[in-house]
Assembly symmetry: none
Homo-oligomer: 137 residues x 2
DNA sequence: TAATAAATAGAAACGAGTTCTATATAAGAA
DNA sequence: TTCTTATATAGAACTCGTTTCTATTTATTA
């Protein structure tokens, strides 16, 4: 089962398997879409007696850092997280549909593998794509 | 001259040609890259006795609304604006030196010439590079 | 079961961006 | 030029998503 794989990943990264972490992972497995910290907070608030935003934010960031979640920012200037389905947890980019806002993910880096350009040695890059998804076109 | 065209666009849209608006436009014409409100504020602060963030933000938004500027959001969760180069000649990118802040420009697009990726049809992209310039390395 | 390292809740802080309002100024009219 | 009026401005105060701080609680292991 997929949840077991995620829980194993927690152990591998020395993160405790707390009830709330499990609830967050189950929520992402159930919904299979991008969720904001606020949406997750509401669910946790309903399932437990106590809940706090800092824990939600920290958990989301930790899950992002160990490659379980991916993180994007929508034009509403909020963070959104979703299960990362890329086989490798390495470098990958996202593309946003200009019509429906759906976010696609691809691990293929579109950049030519150049080390130097215009007299500058390239250290890092930020690539943001806009497009139209299959359903909207 | 390009500045005249932009100023005419202000008049067309019934926006006054204030000294600060002119300074902002000149800055974009000079830099030819994405700038944050903060970066613009610093320049305006140096060129005038007074400056305020609300004016910068409102001006950038107005220039964006009448099509003079583009607006994007980078992962640092800040807004960035750049001249809309629709009439401008060639597709080009910028690279910023992480040490001295110098901005390089190159017309060669580093993106693989893909039209579609992950089920999305690519319409537009924004690429910002970071690196080290010749003098700093 | 006890030890301990990590996770939590709650309050407070942070910071980019926005709203409010009185004052200043660009641009057209007299 | 001077006057008039609508727009632009500075500065203070605010918004709100996100982060930091800290005392308490809890999952893990020994």
């Amino acid at each position: 089962m997929f949840l077991d794989i995620l829980l194993a990943k927690l152990r591998t990264n020395k993160l405790k398997q707390t009830p709330k972490r499990k609830a967050i992972l189950k929520l992402f497995l159930d919904k299979r879409c991008f969720l904001s910290p606020e949406e997750i907070f509401v669910v946790i608030k309903n399932g437990f007696k106590k809940a706090s935003f800092p824990s939600i934010y920290r958990n989301l960031d930790e899950l992002y850092k160990i490659g379980i979640l991916l993180k994007v920012q929508k034009p509403d200037r909020r963070l959104y997280y979703a299960l990362c389905t890329a086989e490798d947890t390495g470098h990958h980019h996202h593309i946003v549909c200009v019509k429906c806002g759906k976010i696609g993910e691809f691990s293929e880096c579109l950049l030519l593998n150049k080390k130097k350009v215009g007299g500058f040695k390239i250290l890092d890059h930020f690539l943001q794509l806009e497009g139209i998804c299959n359903e909207c076109s």
